[in-house]
């Protein structure tokens, strides 16, 4: 009747099975290094467009692509954090328009320095995130619905403030030069101060992405964010305050969307109520998904989102440069989203079955 303890040999038999087929091995590598696989796609795209049109890698064109990357990327990285908790914020496109609009109006109407009104705009974004989070968590409304609501609501607000008119943004140096104004002209060296400004929105986004990658992978908040999205019941059982984690991530999303809007307004010297909107939101979601973030919660990568944003921006600009209609790039973008999602879901399912 004695029950034997398992010997070490027996124990070794349980556990990870080695991947069997070549396909499984590929999926295993993808699940470990999702950023790497999308980076390969990005490089292939760049090579393709450079061969098709040697002007693609010129500093002018690169500046345009990287500015688009910056715009999508900063919103996408905020979306990544939220998607890891299992939520989503579709209102970021409206926050992107509203925050800089409020900033410019504050400066023009009340003479508030731009730096202060920019901060106010970002705090407004954080507040919008707080409201989105509270509605989602306290009233148990799915965030998809909550934020579709606030997307339209805020879009309506920003359009009605000033009859949908864009406002010329004031210029206050050095604020504008630091936060997105392009001082670069073809006679400047790329390595001068003016050259640097050609890429400042991109550099800001890279800084934010690196910061979020650090937060996600090296802090308690990041660990709890993953736990919340991966297993919310288990996370509660081990004492994680999952509601708070979600609300904080909504606030980060709102704040970053507002910051992206501020940089965009400085860049174009104009606060346009229609600068963001639903389409920008969806492009940011696309960037996050293409970059390897699952909509199912628990996993995602900020750096992947940046690369995903670069892929979206490259597709948009590269195809237009080749003389394609702007709408054609949407076909490729749409196909890329669906393919990326199929891959993400398959990788997750393989893992769930413990086959890789």
């Amino acid at each position: 009747m004695a029950r034997t303890t398992p010997t070490s040999q027996q124990v070794r038999k349980v556990g990870i099975k080695a991947p069997e087929g070549g396909f499984e091995k590929v999926l295993m590598v993808l699940s470990r290094y999702r950023e790497a696989s999308i980076a390969v796609v990005a490089v292939v795209l760049v090579i393709y467009f450079q061969i098709s049109n040697p002007a693609f890698l010129s500093s002018q064109e690169l500046s345009v692509v990287l500015r688009d990357t910056a715009r999508f990327g900063m919103i996408a990285v905020a979306q990544v954090m939220l998607m890891i908790t299992g939520e989503i914020d579709l209102s970021v496109g409206s926050t992107f328009s509203l925050a800089p609009y409020v900033m410019v109006l504050m400066t023009i109407s009340w003479g508030v320095p731009l730096a202060i009104s920019a901060l106010a705009g970002i705090l407004l974004g954080v507040l919008i995130g707080l409201i989105n989070g509270l509605i989602t968590v306290r009233f148990r409304v799915p965030s998809l619905i909550t934020t579709v609501g606030t997307l339209f609501l805020l879009q309506g607000v920003v359009v009605s403030i000033y009859n949908s008119q864009p406002i010329v943004a004031p210029v206050q140096e050095p604020f504008n030069a630091i936060f997105g104004e392009n001082l670069y002209s073809p006679t400047d060296s790329l390595w001068s101060w003016h050259g640097l400004t050609a890429f400042s929105p991109f550099l800001w986004t890279v800084a934010v992405v690196l910061a979020m990658a650090l937060v996600l992978n090296r802090t308690t908040f990041g660990l709890h964010t993953i736990a919340t999205g991966s297993n919310i019941i288990g996370a509660k059982e081990i004492g994680i305050r999952t509601d708070r984690i979600k609300i904080y991530n909504f606030m980060i999303a709102g704040g970053l969307a507002a910051a992206a809007g501020v940089i965009n307004t400085v860049e174009f010297a104009s606060a346009d109520p229609l600068a963001g909107g639903p389409f920008l939101t969806l492009q940011a979601v696309a960037a996050a998904v293409i970059g390897g973030t699952s909509l199912l919660g628990g996993s995602g990568t900020p750096i992947g989102a940046l690369v995903g944003a670069f892929v979206v921006a490259t597709l948009n600009n590269g195809l237009v440069m080749m003389g394609a209609q702007a709408t054609v790039s949407d076909i490729y973008l749409g196909a890329a989203i669906v393919l990326a999602m199929i891959l993400n879901v398959q990788v997750d399912r393989m893992r769930a079955r413990r086959r890789i």
Partner: protein, 274 residues
């Protein structure tokens, strides 16, 4: 390893927990009727019963999930009331739920320490001390004899038995006074189950933590527990000590249906029915 390796629990060992006359109803459903259990320091108690017998309700009252309608809990000599799982844990009552509460997207060592992370300060930033957590997790799992491919692997990739072991290891890391294991063998194969039982047996040998096991079937756990309480329709119908009762006797009693007459007969036979 058989139960004979481990001496019977010292009858003078202090009683660490008494749940007295606990009753609980949920609306029209009566879950528990006047149930009393007691647990000694270092003892392993199995709660056995069919679905709906009230095992889980009793345990969830202990772990702070539910509150009893009536009855008292005497814990370490004092009457207590736990209003949340957090509170119970703070008092040294750890529960490993059936779902294990493991985070699939995190590594083994992050799972060990999630919720009580170690930090280090770098350039004014409070960052996770992953090296420390990894080393502590590896050393601790080694002392428990838990074999996993690596503390770096995602818990998602472990077998059922390994997952259960990691969940148990996490719960006993904080040196709880009472460890509650809800259906620890439910999802496991024979070999994996044996591994988890070996883990429980090791804890029992040290007699430092008192354990309550919830199981469907007593013969899975006969060798690792000191006492078995049978629950039937919300009542404890039999309290049998494994050192005084043979497995064959229990089989006979249980086969006779755990009705009133059977219990009376059992009481006559083993002399300690409730």
């Amino acid at each position: 390893m058989s139960s004979k390796d481990i001496p019977a629990i010292d009858p003078r060992a202090p009683i660490i927990l008494e749940m007295n006359h606990i009753s609980k109803t949920f609306g029209a459903v009566t879950a528990l009727v006047d149930v009393s259990i007691k647990l000694r320091q270092g003892e392993v108690l199995a709660l056995v019963g069919d679905n709906g017998a009230g095992k889980s309700t009793l345990i969830k009252i202990l772990s702070g999930f539910h509150r009893p309608d009536s009855g008292t809990i005497i814990y370490q000599g004092k009457e207590v009331r736990f209003y949340s799982p957090r509170e119970a844990r703070a008092h040294g009552v750890e529960t490993v739920y059936q779902d294990l509460a493991l985070i699939n997207h995190l590594s083994v060592y992050h799972n060990m320490f999630v919720g009580r992370e170690y930090h280090k300060w770098i350039l004014g930033l409070k960052l996770l001390d992953n090296k420390k957590m990894r080393d502590l997790a590896r050393a601790y799992l080694d002392t428990l004899g838990i074999q996993i491919p690596s503390v770096d692997s995602l818990v998602d990739l472990l077998s059922g038995g390994q997952r259960q072991s990691v969940a148990v290891a996490r719960s006993i890391y904080s040196s709880p006074t009472i460890l509650v294991l809800d259906e620890p063998l439910a999802a496991l194969g024979v070999r994996e189950g044996a591994h988890v039982l070996g883990l429980i047996q090791n804890l029992r040998r040290q007699r430092s933590v008192s354990i309550i096991l919830i199981v469907h079937n007593y013969n899975q756990v006969f060798e690792v527990c000191d006492r078995i309480n049978f629950l039937h329709s919300g009542e404890v119908v039999l309290d049998a000590s494994t050192s005084e009762t043979s497995e064959e006797q229990l089989i006979r009693i249980v086969k006779s249906g755990l009705g009133r007459e059977a219990i009376a007969a059992a009481a006559a036979e083993i002399g300690n029915a409730m």
